[in-house]
Symmetry: D2
Subunit: 353 residues, 4 copies
């Protein structure tokens, strides 16, 4: 399997199946001399972990990270940071029913075809549990980024949208409710929708918006590794993501150039920001903002047809403890991946200065 590493200089390589001994990773290229805030790292993991509220999966996974290297007396040494998160609550028996069955819209079938074998327990390598390693690395990247702030939030659940532009929101409210929507009223509607869906044994999709502020001018490598291209890849690599747009996005396609152009202020900032903080693949110092589409979770608690390894259609019913909507727990993952992209470009940018 190629594609287990992300980044060029600030680089995360991960390993681990959801029901193996542990998941984890190695962070290469973290600059030396950073006094790490370990509580902040654990806090990010806690935002992602199952069982944190009554609208997410009720699995219990403490998700405690153990750092094995690269840190000496609390300070990064510049050497690779190895870490593991042990899988403490494996309950492998939950998954024996899918050993010879490919669930619809899961990766069971494609893994089996590609590799000729698979760890079928809990989705194995294809499980979103893998994203916990990203959250650890992203939490460290955030500490590398200095003044840059990254705030993601739930901007829709099903057809319930937070209509306000991000500029009108108070991001300090995002964590005040279980769905991570900074508008309390809309959050309540979203939560109600998720509870209803769960009661139906069904699931629902949604979108996450992410806003990055205080980005210096000059991040991004402007041909294939444009800043937004890497952000897009980073987001699309998260489980269940179906789309990415930044700045004016798909709406911008309906606009005229004369409306869409962001006129300058004398200091180089722009009067509008339909560009989403990026020009020609390079940050221009304005807010970067983008939106990520998450499909509904494939595991529903209803009877569905699946495919057996022998090529027969069999009836199966989702078991276990799954998320009715992936979006609330995806917030810290979106932020983590954004932080990895920015940290990498920051180091790259230093190299020729």
């Amino acid at each position: 399997m190629a594609g287990n590493s992300f980044g060029t200089l600030f680089k995360l390589t991960t390993f681990g199946e959801s029901h193996g001994i542990a998941i984890g990773g190695i962070i290469d290229g973290c600059p030396p001399g950073i006094q790490l805030d370990f509580e902040a790292i654990q806090q990010e993991l806690d935002r992602r972990k199952p069982g944190q509220s009554d609208i997410v999966t009720q699995r219990k996974e403490p998700d405690t990270v153990e750092f094995l290297s690269g840190i000496f007396e609390g300070v990064t040494t510049g050497t690779p940071i190895g870490f593991t998160i042990h899988n403490t609550n494996q309950k492998s028996k939950d998954y024996s029913h899918i050993k010879d069955v490919y669930r619809p819209s899961h990766a069971d079938y494609t893994y089996q075809q590609k590799y000729g074998t698979r760890d079928y327990r809990g989705g194995g390598r294809s499980s979103a549990r893998e994203t916990a390693s990203r959250v650890v690395a992203g939490a460290i990247a955030k500490q590398v980024l200095g003044e840059i702030t990254i705030n993601a939030y739930t901007s829709s659940v099903g057809d319930i949208y937070l209509e306000q532009p991000y500029q009108a929101l108070d991001f300090s409210k995002t964590e005040s409710n279980a769905v991570r929507c900074p508008d309390a009223e809309v959050a309540e509607q979203m939560i109600a929708r998720i509870k209803k869906i769960r009661k139906e044994g069904d699931t629902i999709g949604g979108t996450v918006t992410c806003v990055i502020r205080n980005v210096p001018v000059g991040l991004g490598e402007p041909v294939f590794d444009k800043l937004h291209a890497e952000l897009g890849k980073a987001m699309l690599s998260i489980n269940a993501v179906k789309g990415f747009e930044y700045g004016s996005g798909f709406c911008g396609t309906k606009m005229k150039g004369s409306e869409h152009n962001d006129l300058f202020n004398p200091d180089g900032s722009t009067k509008t920001n339909l560009s989403g903080g990026i020009q020609g693949g390079i940050s221009n110092g304005m807010d970067i903002y983008f939106r990520v589409a998450f499909k509904p979770v494939a595991t529903v608690m209803q009877k569905q047809e699946a495919l057996s390894a022998e090529g027969e259609l069999v009836e199966m019913q989702g078991k276990g403890r799954h998320d009715p909507c992936v979006v609330p727990r995806a917030i810290p993952i979106v932020e983590a991946m954004a932080a990895l992209v920015l940290a990498d470009f920051m180091l790259l940018n230093k190299s020729y200065q």
Copy 2:
């Protein structure tokens, strides 16, 4: 500048500014023994070239590719394929007016800030002229892909949408009109809209849809380098792209899991295909389809405020010969980037079999 290479095994590295001597690239990893169809390559370049119809820029650039290596007696040898496309119609004087001026929503300002210098003529490295090199490499990649077919087409211009699903379209019609929309009636509306916009001295955005067929099961590397994540990065790296979605995309976020899941047929194909041909980052053998958002071209033929290098707002007017809508010429670029992604994953997939 990092980020000038695309791909791991089938790898394209490019160079060139729009008004330098030449643009070009090196293709590494092209398998040996392929009898190249050079006409097909030139045909792709002709689909991208300026001046091809009355709704695109009237610049005259013949865009003839010269292959310098890697091909012997018409057959690939497995060694790197070097190629150049000379810039024959440079008209550098057209651009002297932007030497000390940053145009709104162009990359002038960000390049200048990042590098402290820039080739300002015609956008230099940030010009979409760079994509001609991608088209060459993509045309070769297509010849590596065997039975896989890639068809992109214009699915919207401004608010004029081609509403039919791709399954209802006849892709052999795409090239029959200047806007590259396979529905003749909608194409006419789109063309009329573009002409109207041009007359206003303005520009307009649009979307491209791309459909990939006959993909074998198993392409894609399923953590960071998911098939759709690489496709997304590939598309977002094209000039003027603001968004990417595949399969159900942003619409899928409003659906329930019970609606969204693609149930299997006994042969492993699926009854629906909201997944867009990809499960867990790996192709499942169904059609891959995605949509790409292009913003309106920033160069408008109207007076606009720009920023001078001295920090003053100055009035400027777009000159030269520019596209009122980038979408028709973007079709071969979208296909080329898709071909590069697939060829690379095809080679990667072979490596462990």
Copy 3:
């Protein structure tokens, strides 16, 4: 720290300091479906581990590898193989005396200057303990290589040389003595020399010769990543290595072309093999053989001047349990790195066939 990964498709990434919690690594790209021989892996680690004989360091490190992922029911799944080796015998107090002192010909000074900080315990990241992770990955690579055999042995200790050509040796004898020289008589001389040196509180260098057989024609990428260039890098990346030569090596520089050329047999094999099994960076099917130079270990049990962090010359004496000659324990490391190189080129070669 960049440079923690080795390989393109069969790729090892490592982490860990000698006195941290654990060292370990991630192996990407191992093909799926391989029934691993775990005993063989542990055996390689045992060949490298301290305390195995009376001519190596008497430190006690059991060096037990724990696999965390990528293996299901004993078989590789194609997903990344994460593993750790815990540091059980840390004895950190042994190293407090070097906290503010840079030992001569160690990496203390250069790490401190480069990173501004370091884990000084036992050499930290610069310790040869890091090579245990390479041995694990190399042992798995060997199981990927099929019929290819890799045999390294001690070919000199100080000025005691094994003069016989490798063709005259019986590699099954290599493990029959503590110094890993397949000639019993020479081995005894080498052992006597090492014991004498240790008694003097001193150390001694030596060379390792490695022979690779049954290599298929066609491995190696013939410009920058020539097969011997990667083997050379692999060997030079091992601690204490000062030189590498393959085939006729430095001796070949004194020869004439008419003597040096390897004439063909009708089957494509060659009558002589001064080329060392590689032509133009690509394996030609003949034995690959090379020689690696190891300097004497820098830690001597004698008084020596060191440099204090304050810039003063201070007297210090080596403490702890160190190897008087690194060569015997380097044998499995040389083999492991050779295996990694070959496995990677084998996968690369498959990609275009």
Copy 4:
């Protein structure tokens, strides 16, 4: 073909066969704002070019480099530098006799087996002509390196050795004779030897020593990408190289640790420098020096047996104009590859500071 790129941040990618239209390359990552000295670049090419003296091949290749991008008004812009060197003196008819014949100790056989096809003219991609692209990139890298100086010279031809240590030499004399040995007397002997060998229709090997001065402390990435490991790979990737040693090299293996250790001066420099300027893979500020072994050129002007494509041994005689000793022309190539390694590590080192 993988392995056509060298470097991580300062990266050279090359293309070209000896008898194709052109060879050339792309340099990524060259910092912006450097006023290039084009004469210095051409001078390096002239040091490598055929026909420069009466002891090298009498082929006439002017080797003029044309820069296509990345440079604006003589100054690097930070964008990729594309360049070509046209093959003006192809004389392809010289090579028709090797179309279906594999010459001994050439890459004909291995290329044919690996790729199933090859451009047989003049060795095609395996020709040392490819190194001209390295010389161009190295000449630019030298201009990035500032105060660092790189001096290579011929230290042996056959069994004629320059016995003096490099410290006793005056590098300004290196270019004063055709063999590039800074000692006039030894140079004469070497030249006489080469002329004698040529008269015999034979060839001879030799060694190149390279000395790098004024290297800042801290270059090199200390696990797999140790500074000397990359230097070693760089040298071993040059055609005809069979060995590499740095610092005490193979001689160091006979020494005791108490003799070999380099004791410090109070300022961090060392009293001796058997380490060759590198500790733990990182430069320590002392001179870096290494030695490279070149085998005798395989093309001899005598009758030799070759292998036909049909598996028959056939008599052939070398034709064309070849070097009797590759070493004099290898000097600028060794320097160029060293410059590429250092420039890359310099950029990498900046990234975390």
